[in-house]
């Protein structure tokens, strides 16, 4: 608040009439040519013609220029789009002991890149965070507060390097290719978004059909998300409504034979290393293994289900089928037309029936295909299980 306070204006006050507004003229003096204020005065008189607004504009421009200069100096070397993410209170309060549950990308400030972050970006992000959160730096910056902590009896310094430990852990995991792939397999963000995936029951129950737009909206990003697990790259994407028949067929072909590197070691229960009990260890190991296999199977099934659902809802399949039918009809028509041109309406009825039949057949075939695929998947799962068992037995042996 301002320090000066004026009194209340008396009610009777009226503005005195201006008798003679004569201001004393300016006098001439000599300034000492010194200091930044003199330079401002010169700018004001030489450049800006005594106009304060122009001078203000100039100063503002200068300030902006300076800011830009500083910014460009700060980002002098290309940080490959790592950028600077805000750190929430929760993030900074992470407990390094709970490291398995951490979101490492968030810890390193890479949550906008996640699995797309390459080694170079991780390196840069790690360096940035270390510079910011190194315990040596913290000690000096929080040193003045030590007195207050003494007063309150709480030692604030104990938690000083907690976040630094988290950073170290995140860096350790993300720079190790195997660990990183394990972590990426069960990335928090991925798990969350998978929960929102559409399941067949939602569509079958409501009998609600999706519009084309909705279809692409829901499924495009799902396949984009899942594509990260493919051992084969590049992965064909869903495409759009006008995609060619080859593309659509190629797409479903790829996704029915999807070869995933996703694994679930990350979710293993920790083996109690300290325990001397060998049986105990083996038991946990065995459990983990079967759990991994179960999860993997589930994942394969989940993806399969997803592709099935997509296929059943894909508007392009219908379109392609119709086109095929049309070409066939056209051929037939071309054949039968010269024979009798008058019976076309009846024929058309018969044709319609035929079409229906064909459609049903085709659908049946598609269903059979799906069934076959499912069976194949089950087989594969069985095989995997068997192989695992064999391996296990081998291990035991």
């Amino acid at each position: 608040m301002a320090s000066i306070q004026t009194n209340v204006l008396p009610k009777s006050y009226t503005i005195p009439s201006l008798t003679q507004a004569s201001i004393a003229g300016p006098s001439t003096r000599r300034l000492l040519p010194v200091g930044p204020a003199y330079i401002s005065h010169l700018r004001l008189t030489i450049h800006h013609d005594h106009d304060f607004d122009a001078h203000d504009a100039h100063l503002e421009k200068q300030r902006q220029k300076l800011e830009e200069l500083q910014n460009s100096a700060a980002n002098g070397d290309d940080d490959l789009g790592v950028g600077d993410e805000p750190e929430s209170e929760e993030l900074l309060a992470l407990d390094p002991k709970e490291w398995k549950k951490h979101d490492y990308y968030a810890v390193l400030g890479l949550s906008h890149l996640r699995y797309k972050a390459n080694a170079e970006q991780i390196k840069i992000a790690h360096r940035k965070k270390v510079l910011k959160h190194h315990p040596d730096k913290k000690v000096s910056s929080t040193a003045p507060q030590s007195t207050s902590s003494l007063l309150t009896g709480v030692n604030l310094n104990t938690n000083d390097d907690a976040f630094f430990k988290c950073i170290a852990k995140a860096h350790e995991v993300l720079t190790h290719p195997e660990k990183r792939s394990q972590y990426d397999s069960v990335d928090h963000e991925l798990m969350d978004s998978q929960e929102d995936d559409p399941i067949p029951s939602t569509f079958s129950k409501t009998k609600k059909s999706l519009s084309d737009e909705e279809f692409f909206k829901t499924f495009t990003h799902i396949f984009e998300r899942e594509s990260r697990f493919s051992k084969k790259q590049p992965v064909p994407m869903l495409g759009d409504i006008d995609a060619s028949k080859e593309h659509v067929e190629g797409f479903y072909d790829f996704w029915y034979n999807f070869d995933s590197w996703r694994s679930f070691e990350w979710l293993d229960k920790e083996i109690n290393e300290g325990s001397d009990n060998r049986d105990d260890k083996r038991y946990t190991e065995k459990k983990n293994k079967s759990e991994r296999a179960r999860r993997k199977k589930e994942d394969i099934a989940r993806l399969r289900q997803l592709v099935d659902l997509t296929l059943s809802l894909d508007p392009r399949i219908k379109r392609i089928k119709q086109q095929e039918k049309k070409t066939r009809e056209a051929k037939k028509a071309a054949k039968s037309a010269p024979a009798s041109g008058t019976v076309t309406p009846q024929k058309s009825k018969a044709q319609e029936e035929e079409e229906k039949k064909k459609k049903e057949e085709e659908e049946k075939a598609a269903k059979a295909d799906a069934k076959k695929a499912k069976a194949a998947a089950a087989n594969a799962a069985k095989k995997a299980r068997r192989a695992a068992r064999v391996a296990e037995e081998g291990d035991v042996a």
Binding site: M1, A2, S3, I4, Q5, T6, N7, V8, L9, P10, K11, Y13, I15, P16, L18, T19, Q20, A21, S22, I23, A24, G25, P26, S27, T28, R29, R30, L31, L32, P33, V34, G35, P36, A37, Y38, I39, S40, H41, L42, R43, L44, T45, I46, H50, F52
Partner: protein, 636 residues
């Protein structure tokens, strides 16, 4: 990357390269100092190779050697004939203009044999001998019966014009600065006394150019002080509009300047200088004191500071003069006693004496008195009351004596709480108010400022050259401010808020933020724009302690006799306009304060005085939808 920088690299680190490679040179008659920008971005006075921050302006020739600075000053004892001191004041002067006092303690000033009317110093040196033997083409000198020529240096006389002496000295200063910075100096700002004539400035510029210095500006000493005192680091609690007295006690001169500082712009209100008072006078007093003590203790007669000293006494005097330098520094730094010891002062007798502060202050009281008298005279010529001076700044080693500050403050009749470097505690330990380094630091600041101007602003750079007309400015001749009328019945008829002080450079813009009181029924407020003159009213009141009659006036001050009270007064001269408005954002003060229940609103008053003298005042409520009341006065 790591491999090639493993053992460091020869390139200077980035931090250092960002510092402006400029130097500020305080070039006094007796002492000089240099300042550069150190790593932490501050202007700092640096020491030369001898570890001296106060570099004696002395040059001495002994045999083939040349000494500069304090080693040269030490030569005054036994080699005074070849030692040059006090050359700055002779720079740019003609031989006929110089007052020839036949000084016995330094090299004589003579008429230059070749250049007419040019003063020069005559020193005896030893010239290096010519090469002993002419190189013969055959390689071996021919055998001869003649003795081998001796290769001893030949005694010679050297005539040094004053400008050459200056060049040699400035070059050594530049060398010190470059050694410290580790790179070439781009440019420098050099102080000059206000009394320097154009011819002297020309001569100094030439001498500096010969020494390889790019002179950005020759800065008058008061301006160099202003460069420091207007910087933010000086003291943030002082108002930006203030009157400042600069007391510069050099070793041979006293110069006083009264500056008006208006938001960083400085102008000289009055200045005076005399060559009769100075640190040398204090030295003489001290030398006499110690010489008497010596004579008393050892029964060896010693007369100093007399017209015709004997040779032995002159040498003893020179010894003492060097020794008391240390004594003076001790006295200014610590309140205890200071010693002075000289080995073999006279006839092989050693001397050790002590003096305490009280004794010292008594001894040099005449000099303090003459400084205080000059201050009073200056204020009288400037027609400024001592109470209107907000701040005193000291310059020069002699002003480190805290006794001087006390004496000037008391005798000059200043406010008891006037700001001085001593009251701010910035003298001791090389603080920002250190009188010995303030000039050099001011120059360094100014040099960095000029160096920072880009090439696009060439015309701004030109303005710092000599003879620029841009320093001629228009200023307000009277203080402008606004009155918020009330029925308190004081002399201004309300609350007086000064906006633009007298002597503010035009065009000027000022803003002030304050609360205005409102009544609950009507939110009306009004203000009047007035031109006023400020004065001091001396009021005699009885020594009996009583309530001062005027409670509104907060600036009242009491003289030490407790019977005179000085008030700052405001006399309304001419009414320029008024405006009123209904406040839209009035709020009721809540809480336990005594103002609770009153209505107020916060306003911002902006005044713009154009270069023509036209005034534009607007009082605006701070916040969204605040009302604005304006008064405009056209140019006279």
């Amino acid at each position: 990357m790591a491999s090639n920088t493993q053992n460091g690299s020869a390139d200077p680190s980035e931090e250092i390269s960002n510092l402006p490679a400029v130097v500020g040179i305080n070039f006094g008659n007796s002492f000089a100092s240099i300042a550069v920008f150190t790593k932490d971005g501050q202007a700092e006075c640096i020491a030369n190779e001898d570890g001296e921050r106060q570099i004696a302006c002395a040059l001495s020739f002994f045999g083939e050697e040349m000494y500069i600075g304090s080693p040269a000053k030490a030569q005054l004892v036994k080699n005074s004939k070849n030692t040059i001191v006090g050359f700055r004041n002779l720079l740019g002067k003609k031989f006929s203009e110089i007052t020839h006092s036949q000084s016995t303690t330094s090299a004589p000033v003579i008429q230059h044999p070749d250049i007419p009317d040019e003063p020069a110093y005559k020193v005896e040196i030893l010239q290096p001998a010519p090469a002993p033997l002419p190189k013969s083409t055959t390689g071996t000198p021919a055998a001869s019966s003649a003795p081998t020529p001796r290769s001893e240096p030949i005694p010679a006389e050297r005539i040094l014009p004053v400008s050459e002496v200056t060049t040699i000295f400035l070059k050594s200063l530049l060398q010190s600065a470059e050694d410290f910075l580790g790179k070439r100096v781009q440019g420098a700002v050099i102080t000059i006394p206000s009394i320097f004539t154009d011819a002297q400035k020309d001569a100094l510029e030439r001498a500096a150019a010969d020494a390889g210095i790019t002179v950005y500006q020759l800065l008058e000493e008061p301006a160099a002080v202003a460069a420091v005192t207007t910087a933010e680091a000086w003291n943030s609690t002082l108002p930006t509009d203030r009157t400042q007295l600069i007391v510069d006690v050099g070793s041979s001169s006293l110069s006083l300047s009264l500056l008006a500082l208006r938001e960083g712009l400085a102008q000289v209100l009055a200045s005076s200088s005399s060559t009769t008072t100075g640190g040398d006078a204090i030295d003489s007093k001290l030398i006499t004191f110690f010489a008497n003590e010596f004579a008393k203790k050892t029964k060896t007669p010693l007369t100093v500071c007399s017209e015709k000293p004997s040779t032995a006494d002159a040498r003893a005097e020179a010894r003492l003069r060097l020794a008391i330098e240390h004594t003076k520094r001790t006295i200014s730094a610590s309140p205890g006693a200071a010693t002075c010891s000289v080995e073999s002062l006279k006839d092989g007798v050693d001397f050790t004496g002590t003096i305490n502060r009280l004794r010292f202050d008594m001894l040099v009281r005449p000099i303090y008195d003459s400084v205080a008298r000059s201050v009073i005279d200056l204020l009288a010529t400037a027609n400024v009351d001592a109470h209107q001076v907000d701040e005193i700044v000291y310059v020069g080693g002699t002003t480190c004596l805290s006794g001087l500050d006390e004496h000037v403050g008391l005798t000059g009749g200043f406010n008891e709480d006037i700001n001085t470097p001593f009251s701010m505690g910035t003298v001791i330990g090389g603080g920002i108010g250190d009188p010995t380094t303030v000039l050099a630091r001011g120059c360094a600041l100014q040099a960095a400022l000029i160096a920072s101007l880009t090439d696009e602003e060439e015309e701004l750079r030109k303005a710092f050259e000599r003879g620029s007309e841009l320093t001629e400015v228009k200023t307000t001749s009277k203080t402008l401010g606004i009155v918020f009328p009330d029925d308190s019945g004081n002399e201004t008829g309300g609350t007086w808020i000064p906006l633009v002080l007298a002597g503010t450079t035009l065009p000027a813009r000022r803003t002030a933020t304050f609360d205005i009181g409102l009544s609950e029924e009507s939110k009306r407020f009004a203000f009047e724009l007035w031109e006023v003159s400020e004065g001091i009213r001396v009021e005699k009141i009885k020594p009996v302690q009583e309530e001062t009659p005027n409670a509104e006036d907060e600036d009242e001050e009491e003289e030490e006799e407790d019977i005179e009270v000085k008030h700052k007064t405001i006399t309304k001269d001419s009414f320029l306009g008024a405006a009123e408005a209904e406040a839209a954002l009035g709020i009721k003060v809540k809480g336990p304060s005594k103002d609770a229940g009153k209505w107020t609103t916060t306003v911002e008053a902006t005044i713009i005085v154009a270069a023509s003298g036209a005034v534009d005042v607007s009082v605006k409520e701070i916040g969204k939808d605040g009302v604005v009341a304006t008064v405009k006065v056209s140019a006279p």
